[in-house]
Amino acid sequence: MARASKPDSLTVRAYDVGFGDCFLLTFHYKERDRHVLVDFGTTGSRSGKDKDTLSRVANLIVKHCTDARGKAKLDAVVVTHRHRDHIRGFSTDPSDGACGTRIAKLAPDLVVQPWTEAPKAPRDSKGSASPGSRTKGFRTSNRGYMSMLGNMTQFAKSLVGGEARRFMTLRSVQERRQLAFVGEDNLKNESAVRNLMKMAKAARLKGEYLSYGSSTKLEQILPGVKVNVLGPPTITQHARVKTEAETNPEFWMLQSIFWLGQARMMNDRRKAVSTPQPTRKNDIPLSARWFVQNCDQVRASQLLSLVRIVDGAMNNTSLILLFQIGSRKFLFPGDAQIENWEYALRYAPDAKKNLETLKDVTLYKVGHHGSRNATPKTLFKVMAAKRNRSDRLTSMNSTMPDKHGDTANRSEVPRGTLVRALKKRSRYLTTEHLSDETPYIEETFSL
């Protein structure tokens, strides 16, 4: 049978994982459907039973990937970045529902991840060039950056397992929920990471690790579909703008060493904490209590600000993929924030062309669950410019309110002003109102 040159339609499903992302893109070709899973994770389900939620979603994915003859097959897996709310579903750990085993059984032909996840890239913790490294072409600054990310993750892990644990239980600490959430989201998620590597190894087309402008084997898997990689840029491509500092490998080495130091301090502390017990509040003199409470608050804020830097850095490793089929365009930016986006929108040599291409996006997967700084206004203005009714932008948001951020400082997720703008200028679909009866959104676009 001759292979179809392009799909006739595309079904996009957003599963209810609570706070997280899980999208299944089903490209309908004449001979068979082809399925691409974009992320699968959660940091908190609506029911509070994350394991059950992930299991239920895994069953649905298997069901939706099964053809009429009963054969279940996933063509590709895209993991935008390594946050727990995007990859936990790939874990094979029973405490996460071991869903990763079921996904692996769907034998994807390709596993796509950002360049920062490349297993062959050197991971010298001090960011220095490792002679004899198998990876050629990585500039020292890129290596320093990757090493920094590794050390940041290590820090988050040590933090959540150590010092932050006490603050999470202190009622006097305002940031305790935030600290727990952001910290846990940045855990290393080792089981999922290992499983993804294993899946990539077993895949027919193996794994690929993309950066801005990379070509991708997704185009082989999806005939007639053009896939633009709009992010993340490498450090070599996009050492940030206003200063020379970030083009300097030493800058990244300094960052890397800083985070290594932070992680080690956390670890040292964790070891030491076992002996001296926290002093009971009643044993602290009355005259010192106000200040002691402030010390806890200061420290929690300090840790939260560090872990937020880690969080932002990790979000900015997100893949930004634009699927194009004829004139229809589907944009999946993961959790990319402004620093990742600005390369494609402003600093890349072909930034103007990108803005032109993004003008008539059909579907926009709302970045970072609708947070304030993951849908740059430049992007929004381009995408949501006045269009015909038939050509109206559709936006799809996988999110859960009251989990992340705070309305008081205008950091709530999803951000009220963004949601209002999306409702006004697009057909806004959200997973917020899903229930056990309708556990996913399904939209089919004719192509």
């Binding site: 030491a272 017990q277 200061v298 300090q302 700084n373």
Partner: protein, 613 residues
């Protein structure tokens, strides 16, 4: 209860033992260098807790609270200090939480006393309260900061790596003289000029850091005996150039570069400090005028403060050498008397410290620039010490210029760079002299009456923030009485209204408003964005109640406001997170981390404005 007879004289000061710089600075026998310093006497409670400082030894990383301890006055007992503690005893002392609390208390008190002496009055901290809390082991981090909101200094601790082995050495920042002095200076400067922490120009952000660094360095060098120890340390290493006579300093060391290497840079060389604190200080001193130019013109806002350090410390060396040039070579060919060389260095550092602190009263109250500080520095000193024997002022001016900092004022009456006194006679007819020395409402009455002559912009909200009578004493014992008044002007405007303000007006006598060639508003700023413009100044009154100086940053100074708004706009200040004010309350914690990481903007960096929802 004290058993002192009620009418017996109360001592005005007491001596306390401190670590002179930090535990990594040791003498030739490997002993930590300590020093006895004078601090004001006060009855203390366990903490130590006094009228102005309360040490609370709580570790937020573990939740441990060390019971309050008494000041270790025993350590200063004559027989003990003469016998000197052994290397082992000193090392053990560093592990003693009571000593760490004591050390922090002593250094904070010393810096406070230096400020109070220089300014000739009691000082307030920058928050609503009398006692500054100090947490000597606040958390595990190579960081230390002052927080206005929490009324305290938070001093971290951390383990360093030695030969690849973790935890082999614990570094307590509360034992580092320069760290404690630096953070105390932030707290004091915040009390003197509350609005210097407002987001403004890059220079204002850098000023707090640069000023605190200078005070910390000079504070160390003014510790009795420390300069001599620093000289000894360098000479012990370099046996080839040592004088044969141990009482003499070889001539080789009495040159600017040698003193810079030997004394300024010699301290803490072996300290394995991931904080890079001393390295940063050393780097400041090493800056060349060419590098200074690159820092100013390039985009290295986080290094701007280092220019102040470079200028002052180079002047310090020049003055020190000038003082030595008047002393004959006591030991002939062998060189000069070691203790005299060191004492001249200590005296120079001590007086420069007084000058630096005094300058603050003569700075504008908002939007400080380095050039304002230079003019303030020279004017404040001229007032109290008209004859400048060792040319402190000329050498400071020369070095500031060398590092690219030109004074704001051209000078007056043959004195270059000092502020010019008002040319117009003020109207004192409705003011009461006595009240003018303490009553803000009375001073405001004067300000209102003379608003045209003072060239204030009448539609702006004007407020007298403080009235401070001072008694200053010159090195020669001459007493200067002044009253220092701080006022601010605040104007709430929308961006589109900027174009219609009478910029560079009002002037006295009135002139036509200046037609601006470049608009004040950043081009991308939306017209409906509202924000505040600040202006303000210091009024210095003589002991006869006459206005001597009016030092100000005019609210309608187009050039300054343009720079400020552009800087805030570029740094993302107007994005909602920052304008909510939350991130500004503990800004020193953030600023210090950015400095360590070589971040791009000392103020704030929140992504390009206008991109966030």
């Amino acid at each position: 209860m004290s058993d002192r007879p009620i009418l017996a004289a109360v001592p005005s000061s007491r001596q306390l033992l401190i670590v002179a710089q930090d535990p990594s600075v040791r003498d030739s026998e490997g002993r930590i260098i300590t020093s006895l310093i004078d601090v004001p006497f006060e009855p203390t409670a366990p903490g130590p807790k006094g009228a102005r400082v309360y040490v609370v030894d709580y570790d937020a990383s573990t939740g441990e609270f060390n019971p309050p301890s008494e000041l270790l006055v025993d350590l200063t007992k004559k027989e003990l200090s003469e016998k000197k503690l052994t290397k082992k005893e000193l090392d053990r002392l560093m592990d003693n939480s009571a000593f760490r609390a004591h050390n922090a208390y002593a250094i904070v008190m010393r810096v406070l006393a230096r400020f109070e002496f220089a300014l000739g009055r009691r000082l307030s901290w920058g928050f609503d309260g009398h006692q500054l809390h100090v947490a000597p082991t606040a958390f595990v981090d190579a960081n230390a900061f002052y927080s206005n909101r929490d009324r305290g200094l938070f001093l971290g601790y951390f383990d360093t790596e030695k030969n690849g082995k973790r935890g082999s050495k614990r570094v307590y920042t509360c034992l580092s003289h320069d760290v404690v002095a630096h953070e105390t200076t932030h707290a004091l400067l915040d009390g003197l000029r509350t609005r210097f922490t407002e987001p403004s120009s890059d220079e204002q952000a850098a000023f707090h850091e640069g000023f605190a660094d200078v005070v910390a360095l000079l504070s160390i060098f003014s510790v009795p005996g420390l300069v001599q120890k620093a000289l000894d340390l360098k000479e012990v290493k370099d046996t080839t150039s040592r004088s044969n006579d141990p009482r003499a300093v070889a001539r080789k060391w009495l040159k600017k570069e040698a003193l810079k290497e030997g004394v300024l840079l010699g301290l803490g060389e072996e300290m394995a400090d991931p904080n890079e604190r001393l390295n940063a200080l050393r780097r400041s001193v090493r800056i060349t005028p060419e590098e200074a130019n690159a820092i100013r013109t390039g985009n290295e806002a986080h290094r701007l403060g280092e220019l102040i350090v470079a200028a002052v410390m180079n002047a310090f060396l020049d003055i020190w050498l000038e003082r030595l040039s008047t002393v004959g070579p006591v030991y002939g060919k062998e060189g000069m008397d070691r203790s005299r060389v060191a004492e001249e260095g200590r005296v120079t550092a001590d007086y420069l410290l007084t000058m630096i602190v005094r300058a603050i009263d003569y700075t504008p109250t908002v939007d400080i620039r380095f050039s304002d500080f230079l003019s303030a520095l020279l004017t404040a000193d001229l007032e109290i010490r008209p004859v400048d024997r060792y040319e402190y002022r000329a050498r400071l001016l020369h070095n500031f210029k060398l590092f690219g900092i030109e004074p704001t004022s051209d000078g007056f009456d043959g004195h270059p760079a000092v502020w010019e006194p008002p040319r117009i006679e003020m109207d004192y007819s409705n003011t009461v002299f006595e009240s003018m020395q303490r009553d803000a409402d009375e001073v405001f009455r004067f300000v209102w009456q003379n608003r045209d002559k003072l060239c204030l912009y009448e539609p702006a909200y004007t407020r007298v923030e403080s009235v401070r009578p001072c008694i200053r004493i010159s090195p020669a014992g001459f007493v200067l009485r002044e009253t220092v008044v701080e006022y601010v002007q605040i104007l709430n405007v929308r961006a589109h209204e900027l174009a219609s303000l009478p910029w560079d007006e009002p002037q006295f006598p009135p002139q036509k408003p200046v037609k601006l060639e470049t608009p004040v508003k950043p081009p991308e700023m939306p017209g409906n964005l509202s924000f505040r413009l600040y202006g303000g100044g210091a009024l210095i009154f003589s002991d006869r109640g006459e206005l001597k100086y009016h030092v100000r940053s005019k609210i309608l100074n187009a050039k300054r406001q343009r720079q400020r708004l552009h800087n805030l706009w570029d740094s993302g200040f107007f994005s909602s997170q920052n304008s909510s004010g939350k991130s500004l309350t503990r800004r020193f914690a953030d600023m210090h981390r950015r400095r360590r990481l070589g971040a791009t903007n000392a103020l704030t960096k929140d992504g390009p404005y206008g991109e966030s929802f």
